[in-house]
Symmetry: C2
C-alpha cells in the first residue's frame, strides 16, 4: 500500500509511525515545503521516500497534514491530481472552509475531513510520538459525502490506532473548537507575551514561577505557522470567543476595582465546576 503524507510535522510524523506499525508492506511517501523537514523525516525513517506532486496519482491514500490555510488552498488541486482510486484525508484543526472549498469538486467522494483531538505543544517531524492518537477522539465531518469503501477503510484504521470516532457538522465543529481549543491558545500565548514584556529580567520569573504558570502558559510554545493559520481560517468564531473572553475579563476587572470580592469569590466557585469536565478529558 502506498501512502503519502503531505506536511511532515508532529501530526504527519506521528501518523507515519502508526502506519508503519499497523500496515504490512506499507510504503510511506512524504512531501513538505521544508527541505530540512524532509531530510529529518527520511533520517528518522518516518518516510521511506520523497514524492513530488506529479507522482500523487500513484498513491492509494494521501494524508494532508499541512497548516489549515494551506489545506484549503492545496486540497482542490490535490484532488485534481490524484487517480480515481485515491483517498485524501485531511487532519486540520478547522473544518468549515476546508469542506466548503471542495463541496462541488468532482472527486468530493474521494475526500474525508477529520480533526484528531491529539497533539502536544511541540512541532516538527522530530516531535512525532508513537501512540499519539491512542485513546483520543477523531472528529469526522460530512462522512456521507465520502465513498463508503474509502470511509470504511479510514474508520477501521483510526480505530486500529486507538481512536474514538465522533461525527459533527463542519459548522458546529468550528464553533465549538474555537472555545475549547483556539481560545485556550490565545489566552496562553497572550499570557506568555504579557509576562515576557514585563519581566525583561528573566531571573525573577525563574525564581517565582511555579507549576501553575507553567501549565497555563504551555500553549505559548505552539507553532506560529500552525496557529496563525488556524486563527485566520476560523476568524469569525475565534473573534466571537475572544470577544466573550474579553467581556468576562473586563467584568472581573471592574469587580476588583469596585472591591466586590464576594462576587469574585462566586465566579471562582461557579467555575470550579470545570473539575468534573476535566476528569473526562483524554490526556
Amino acid at each position: 500500500m502506498k501512502i503519502g503524507i503531505i506536511g511532515i510535522g508532529l501530526i504527519g510524523g506521528s501518523l507515519a509511525i502508526e502506519l508503519k506499525k499497523t500496515i504490512k508492506d506499507v510504503k510511506v511517501f512524504g512531501n513538505d515545503s521544508s527541505k530540512v523537514n524532509l531530510k529529518l523525516s527520511l533520517d528518522a525513517d518516518l518516510i521511506d521516500e520523497i514524492i513530488s506532486k506529479k507522482e500523487y496519482n500513484n498513491l492509494d491514500v494521501i494524508f494532508l497534514t499541512v497548516p489549515v490555510k494551506e489545506i484549503s488552498k492545496q486540497l482542490p488541486e490535490i484532488l485534481d491530481l490524484v487517480s480515481s482510486k485515491t483517498l485524501v484525508v485531511d487532519f486540520g484543526s478547522t473544518k468549515a472552509n476546508i469542506c466548503q472549498v471542495v463541496s462541488n469538486h468532482p472527486k468530493r467522494s474521494q475526500f474525508l475531513a477529520t480533526h484528531p483531538i491529539a497533539g502536544t505543544e511541540f512541532s516538527g517531524p522530530l516531535a512525532s510520538k508513537e501512540n499519539l492518537f491512542n485513546g483520543k477522539v477523531q472528529i469526522i465531518c460530512e462522512s456521507k459525502k465520502t465513498d463508503s469503501n474509502h470511509l470504511n477503510w479510514a474508520l477501521e484504521w483510526f480505530k486500529k490506532i486507538g481512536m474514538i470516532i465522533k461525527e459533527m457538522t463542519p459548522i458546529d465543529h468550528d464553533k465549538h473548537i474555537a472555545y475549547v481549543s483556539h481560545l485556550s491558545h490565545i489566552s496562553s500565548i497572550i499570557l506568555g507575551q504579557t509576562v515576557l514584556e514585563k519581566e525583561k529580567d528573566e531571573s525573577a520569573i525563574f525564581a517565582m514561577a511555579g507549576s501553575g504558570f507553567a501549565s497555563t502558559v504551555r500553549l505559548a510554545k505552539s507553532s506560529p505557522e500552525t496557529w496563525s493559520s488556524i486563527f485566520e481560517e476560523n476568524e469569525k468564531n475565534v473573534l466571537e470567543t475572544l470577544t466573550h473572553y474579553l467581556s468576562n475579563l473586563e467584568k472581573f476587572k471592574s469587580l476588583l476595582e469596585k472591591k466586590k470580592h464576594k462576587e469574585i469569590h462566586k465566579i471562582i466557585e461557579k467555575t470550579n465546576a470545570i473539575k468534573g469536565i476535566l476528569k473526562e478529558i483524554k490526556n
Copy 2:
C-alpha cells in the same frame, strides 16, 4: 517541640507531614475556622491535637497558613498572644500588606514572612502531599527584621525539606508574583467561566477538549477562598497586570479583525521564547 498550624488546607497539611517526618518528638497542634477540616486533619493524623487561641502561648512555632486576607487580619493578634519565645511564620502568596501590618509590632522579630512557590490546584487538608516542598523555591522577605536564632531555625528546616531559599522585598515580591502567578489564575478562571457559559451542553466539551485545554484551564479548579483573598490583598498589582493582559488581547483581536496574520505569526514566534524559561521551572 510544639508546633501549631493555623489553617489546615493543602499548604498547612503538607507542612504537617514534613514536620512529622523531620522533627523527632514534634507535636503538631491545629486550628481552623472549619470544624470539618479539623476533624479531617485529626483523622488523617496531620495534627495531633486541636488548639485554641488561648493556648498559643505554649507553642514554640506557629505556621500561619490561612488565606492572605486572614493573615493580615490575624497576624498582629497572634503576635500579641504568643510567648516571647514563639516564632510565627506565614506562608501567604502576597507579602507587602502582611509585612506592613506588623512593621511596628513589638514582637516583629518573632515573625518571618515567607511564600513557598509550591502547591497544586487542589485544596483542603485531604489535598496534602508528602514532598510538596521538595525542590521548590521558598521566598522570604525582610529576613533582617527576624531574630537571627528564629531565622536560622526556619531556614535550616526549609532546607531540610528540600527548599531553595530566595530573599526579595515584599514590594518586589507582590509586583512580580502578580505576573507569574496571579494573572495565570485569572486567565485560567475566566477561560473556564467563558467556556462553561458557552457550552451549556457539556458533551461538546467532553468530545472536543484535549490536553491543551485541560492544561490552560487547570487553575480554574483553584480554591475560591484562597484566590478571592489573594486578588483582594494584591489588588493594585493584579489590576496592573490584568490591564496589561487586556491591552495585549485587544491588540491581538484588532490584528485578527484587520487580517494582519503576519503580525499574529510574529507575536506567537516571539512568545515561543517562553520555552527556555519553562525549562527552568521546578514542577
